[in-house]
Amino acid sequence: MFKYLKQLTSLVAMVAVLFTFTTESMAAKKSKTLKNTQKKGFVRCGVSQGLPGFSNADAAGNWTGVDVDVCRAVAAAVLGDANKVKFTPLSAKERFTALTSGEIDILSRNTTWTLSRDADIGLTFVGVNFYDGQGFMVRKSSGITSVNQFKNGISACTNIGTTTELNMRDFFNSRGISYEPVAFEKADEVVAAYDSGRCDTYTTDKSGLAAQRTKMSNPDEHMVLPETISKEPLGPVVRQGDSVWEDIVRWSLNAMIEAEEYGITSANADSMKTSDNPAIKRLVGAEGELGAAFGLDNEWSLRIIKQVGNYGESYKRNIADTGILPDRGPNQLWTKGGILYVPPAR
């Protein structure tokens, strides 16, 4: 009898140890995520499974894109090296679970900021790195030039698990058009299905349409309709409950945008240290103690600008020069007629 009692006690003790371990790490320091990231030596970043211009891996496995650059900026600020990022490609369906379960620390995957996502499911959106809207792509040969020409019975290919599905319903319903939604889990299959003629139209964010068009067997046969049927502010997301980490990601993005505003580029960042403008000096770490607020050194933003570049450089490199969306549209600085306007870094 005592034999089993002994086994039982050791089991209970083991479970008790497990409990204390978890509760202890749960209480944790102010930013558990920052501590873990510095300990691991890389930033864990969730990206798309391949969306040119936003997050796309080349044949050698190097990730590029404006979403990728947000994670690289955080790595530069926190770890001093923009390349210390581990990218995890996620489907639309998996992305939030991956973040809330702690598999990744930043979700930078062309994700629309909505009330229910922000408030409901344990996430916090830190900003917007691309202002987008949902649109439709059709074959040029169909002769359709406007969404007003859509008729009953149209079939529309799209992704599951996105705001696209909801917007699509609102759009067709408000116009009283009956439609057939064909929703796939992966973007590549949506493109393949639309390309082969399964659907009359392909709908997702306009930037996505422009990017996926480059993957079609003959991109020139397709066009994106001019109408935009929704607001899709895309931005990086972090887990709720770690406000320091949230601030680091938010200000890494803001620093890139503000650097463009003040004309600081990866090439001239070092020479800007002697600038007369105190706002510029603060951004390149020559004045003030901005990094201390997150527990970082003072050159965090300088490293972002030097290693990743400012927002304009990132946009040009990933989206404009690749021919996806040469025109910056609303994603232009507020000083140049766009809506990019970030709070001051001071």
């Binding site: 698990g161 699509m168 003629g197 399964r198």
Partner: protein
Amino acid sequence: MNFKLKDLGPQLITVIAVVLIFGFFTYNAQINMENRGIDFGYGFLSQESSFDVQFSLIEYDGSHSYFRAYLVGLLNTILVSVIGIIIATIIGVIVGVARLSPNFLINKFAAYYVEFFRNIPLLLQIFFWYFAALRALPLPQDAEAIFGVFFLTIKGLYVPAFIWENFNIFFYSIVTSIIAIIVIRFQAKKLRETQGKQIPVFLISIGLILILPLLSFLIGGVSLSFEIPQLKQLAATSFVYDGGLSLPPELIALTLSLSLYTATFIAECVRAGIQGVSKGQKEAAASIGLTPNQVLKLVIMPQALRIIIPPTTNQYLNLTKNSSLAAAIAYPDLVLVFAGTALMQTGKAIEIVSITMFTYLSLSISISILMNWYNKKIAIQEK
């Protein structure tokens, strides 16, 4: 007392360990969810889903609840499983018997079919049928009519819809003839056992099932017309068929790949079952004057079925579970609609995944119970 404790001890410890481990996970999940401000609850099921589904057996659109969306997905899963099981069984039995055929060509063809289809991963087969095979189909405007009324196109298979008048009379006539057939079979069996008389039950059954419904048309006022799909232009090069019924290509591809894949395993079960009945049985049956048909029906099959049913049950379960691969090709099954879109829109991961797991468990257990009941029925009645 000591003896009892020795017996109970390990079991007690196992139970406590299981409870503690589950308790630990639940506790951990609770704390994690609390930390991140996630609520737990099933209240979302009654909320408006606000997304549409491509193909549904019940009336559904985005203004219905998430629970309704769950039912849509569940019914679509059941639909593809039931059709898949029926087709897989038919192909499986034919191929299984064909593998035992003395005809070299039939025999080898069946063997190659089995080896080919069961050795390629199912997901690849699904992609093949969807993207390679079905994609080779014509656009609606280029489709040739099959028998003038069926249209197989890249957007799906369009078939005429039946439009009934007085359908209930037709339905009752079918039910009546089925009941009559059951009674006649019962009586025929009795006659054979008591007086040794043989009645052509099969012919009578066919006659009944034809004559009664025919009468319902002639004098019962039942009438039937067809609504044939019509080509409709959406835009210069976009067409679709209007009217009639349409089967989405996703359903066709999924059913096809699931049946062809599972049929190979069923064929092997059937072959093993028939080979498992000893040769002496057949010879003995023939020696007492049974016809070859009777030998198969009364002696071989009842014994073979006992061997065939249990492993075939497994294949039915596999097919049902494999139907969840539907998500890859946009067939709106339970996983795509509920554990996909609904999960994303609500963010209720734990709730939705638990419901989905429980649903598949229930489906599998239902199939098991049904097949076990059938297995028991055909098992040797020990006296």
